[in-house]
């Protein structure tokens, strides 16, 4: 139940924006529905091994894979996009070399091993890919409604500040 709610709320709250004044053009252009998530399956498999689902939702359930693609498309330059796509190719290459399967078809343990091999690789670009996807996945997870309300007691308007309370 909570997982479904989390899926609906990360980045999909755009219905609330329909009533915006027309001068807020930056939102009207970037309708979520129009986005083309080509790498959705691979990215879902990727974020899930960074923060897996257990008895509680993982990165995929909060939509981190959608966020990752949106960030690569919208917030970085071509150099980062290239690095990102090359990293995804590298993941596939390593998966097929070692297990003869696509990355997204591997079980969680093997997928995690392939991803961890990027972290420990000798190539700087592989290490960079690993930190890049990990950082964005952590950011998506820790900004999700599920995380903020479950682990950080987030409320939009706390109404108070106490400068000194016991831990």
């Amino acid at each position: 139940m909570e997982r479904r709610k989390a899926i609906q709320t990360l980045g999909l709250g755009f219905s609330t924006l329909l009533a915006l004044p027309s001068w807020v053009n930056s939102w009207s252009k970037a309708s979520f529905a129009e986005s083309n998530f080509e790498n959705e399956v691979t990215l879902a498999a990727l974020v899930e091994c960074i923060i897996p689902e257990s008895e509680t939702p993982g990165a995929k359930a909060v939509g981190a894979h959608l966020y990752l693609e949106r960030m690569v498309n919208g917030c970085y330059g071509t150099d980062v996009k290239k690095m990102f796509l090359a990293g995804l190719e590298k993941l596939e290459k390593r998966s097929s070399q070692k297990y003869n399967k696509a990355f997204s078809e591997l079980d969680l343990e093997k997928r995690t091993a392939v991803l961890a091999s990027m972290k420990n690789a000798s190539e700087v670009s592989d290490k960079r890919f690993f930190s890049f996807v990990k950082n964005l996945t952590v950011r998506a997870y820790t900004h999700s409604e599920y995380y903020l309300t479950t682990y950080r007691n987030y409320v939009m308007a706390p109404g108070y500040f106490h400068g000194c309370v016991p831990v």
Partner: protein, 572 residues
């Protein structure tokens, strides 16, 4: 035909025209409307109505498409605007895009603008400290070119006037370098801020006080605030989106709706003021030339009194562009000093540290404020090898860490833990700069913008005095943080910071004691055209170390009430 023209002129005639609807323009509108004067407020930007035009105000953090980050395309289109801390996914629609409003940097001055009803009063950092007599006396004591024509006693009642209405939270600290005001309940210092305050008191024998910041938040709203339709600050810390509660002071939440309710206000958004019309026969300004920013149609509006509250640099620009045979260099600019003496606050450095004491305590909730270290250098006499001094923000907080060690379940467990590290200590520097003739703005001779207004050229830079002062702050703060027992103390000098990013630019049309070297008298009137008043940042003779908005508000209310009296006497 004559009859028709007269009718049109009459329809476009008001008692007062206020140019700009930001923090000072809103105050001019309120004061004039309260006195029953028909007031036209011209705003060059779009309309922003309180609450309904705050599109992001109620959005949760996870509802932002890029979780707060501004997309690259928008950043690339606005390399200057995107340098300011306030240009984020939730507030970028309130900040002018570089490419839509170009200007020429002779030196790299980063001009941050908010073109909308309410201006930057929606975006300000809300720090509100009074100036002391030492601040007003500074330019004369230190031999600056231009001296203040007023002192603390002239402004004190007007500080009270605006504080009571705006709602300023603060503590009565009893400091003569930072006079107390009409305060609502103060915010709380954290335990480590209190510890620092105490250590400073002991070590420097009371000469370096640390206080809770004074800020324009309704911590304890009074009937006058409820009457404005405002309510208690809810500690959201999302002020830059516009506050649906009116918890902090803005023109949109406070002065403009108040003025509107008198029935005397006409607010006209999308109205770019091109210039002031000067009547050679009467020797007064008679109105303004306006270009509708949407239709590009030109119109004229007339009034007995004109208030310039267009924000520092645009006020300079409008006046310089108001040329007539009497004033070939811009209205009131006989001494050719207009546009010169642009000054600002230096924010070029800051500090960070940690504290590994008091680990059984933490902070809870959020606070739209911090502690504040009033200026302690050269306050009453010259002590250092640089002129003037600095104030500093100071804060110490302890909230849960984000532990992102590991991968997979290890990472997940780390993230889901609630762990507290050391206290995080931070400070930022706010240095007074010396007004100089060589820091100027002027009009470009040939290039004009989309509304037919000449492009602005800016030539403003930091100098050696500013650098010496920043170094002194870093040294003194290092000593002070060490005395308090903090660890990992670092000075964080900013390498890409340019003047303008303080968003505290002032001067160019300064008040002074002498018409030879200043543009305005002690009532903010142009020396040579008395029915034109300048009461935004452009009028500031010097900048001292306080956040400037409260002083603009007080100067505006004072000048507006003076103008009302002069109108009654038939002097304007």
């Amino acid at each position: 035909m004559t009859y028709l023209n007269n009718k049109a002129v009459k329809k476009n005639t008001f008692d007062v025209i206020v140019i700009g609807s930001g923090i000072s323009g809103g105050w001019a509108a309120k004061e004039f409307c309260d006195h029953g004067l028909k007031t036209l407020v011209l705003e060059r930007g779009k309309d922003v109505k309180h609450v309904v035009d705050y599109p992001t105000a109620m959005m949760e953090p996870w509802e932002f498409e890029h979780l707060g980050q501004v997309p690259k395309k928008l950043k690339d289109e606005s390399p200057i605007a995107s340098k300011t801390y306030i240009y984020k996914e939730d507030s970028k629609h309130f900040i002018v895009k570089d490419k839509e409003h170009p200007y020429i940097q002779e030196k790299p001055f980063d001009w941050i603008r908010g073109y909308q009803v309410g201006g930057k009063s929606l975006l300000w950092a809300r720090g509100t400290q009074r100036w002391s007599k030492y601040d007003f006396e500074g330019p004369a004591r230190d031999g600056f070119d231009v001296h203040w024509p007023i002192g603390y006693d002239d402004l004190a009642p007007w500080y009270s006037h605006v504080e009571i209405f705006a709602g300023i939270s603060g503590n009565k600290d009893g400091l003569d370098s930072l006079p107390d005001g009409e305060f609502l309940k103060p915010h709380e210092q954290t335990c480590v801020e209190k510890h620092f305050t105490q250590k400073m008191k002991e070590h420097y024998h009371g000469k370096r006080p640390v206080i809770i910041g004074r800020c324009a938040h309704l911590t304890d709203p009074q009937p006058i605030h409820y009457e404005q339709g405002r309510g208690q600050c809810q500690h959201r810390n999302l002020c830059q989106r516009g506050c649906p509660y009116g918890g902090y002071f803005s023109s949109n939440a406070s002065t403009l709706p108040w003025a509107q309710r008198t029935g005397n206000l006409t607010l006209r958004p999308n109205s770019v003021v091109h210039s002031i019309i000067y009547d050679e026969k009467t020797g007064k300004a008679s109105g303004v030339n306006v270009v509708d920013s949407v239709t590009k149609k030109e119109r004229k509006f007339y009034a007995k009194v004109i208030f310039l509250n267009a924000s520092t640099i645009n006020t300079n620009l409008i006046l310089l562009n108001s040329k007539s045979s009497r004033f070939p260099n811009g209205i009131g600019n006989d001494n050719e000093q207009m546009g010169k003496y642009i000054h600002f606050h230096s924010f070029i450095t800051g500090m960070s540290a940690e504290y590994d004491g008091m680990l059984d305590s933490k902070t809870d909730g959020t606070r739209p404020n911090g502690s504040y270290i009033p200026r302690f250098r050269n306050v009453k006499e010259q002590e250092t090898d640089f002129l003037r001094g600095y104030a500093a923000g100071f804060s110490a907080n302890r909230s849960p860490l984000t532990n992102s060690e590991g991968l997979g379940m290890e990472l997940k467990n780390n993230l889901n833990k609630t762990e507290y590290g050391n206290w995080h200590v931070g400070s930022h520097f706010m240095g007074e700069t010396v007004p100089k003739e060589t820091n100027y703005v002027k009009l470009d001779d040939t290039q004009i913008d989309d509304w037919g207004v000449p492009l602005l050229r800016v030539n403003v830079e930091l100098d050696d005095n500013d650098m010496k002062m920043a170094k002194d702050y870093e040294e003194q703060m290092t000593e002070m943080l060490t005395v308090a027992g903090f660890k990992n103390i670092k000075a964080n000098r900013k390498t890409t910071w340019n003047p303008g990013l303080d968003i505290h630019e002032m001067g160019g049309v300064v008040m002074g004691t002498d018409a030879k070297n200043s543009l305005l008298n002690k009532w903010n009137q142009l020396h040579h055209c008395k029915n034109v008043f300048v009461t935004d940042g452009a009028c500031m003779t010097s900048n001292s170390t306080q956040n400037p908005s409260l002083t603009y508000m007080a100067l505006t209310a004072r000048a507006a009430n003076y103008a009302v009296e002069e109108l009654k006497k038939g002097n304007l």
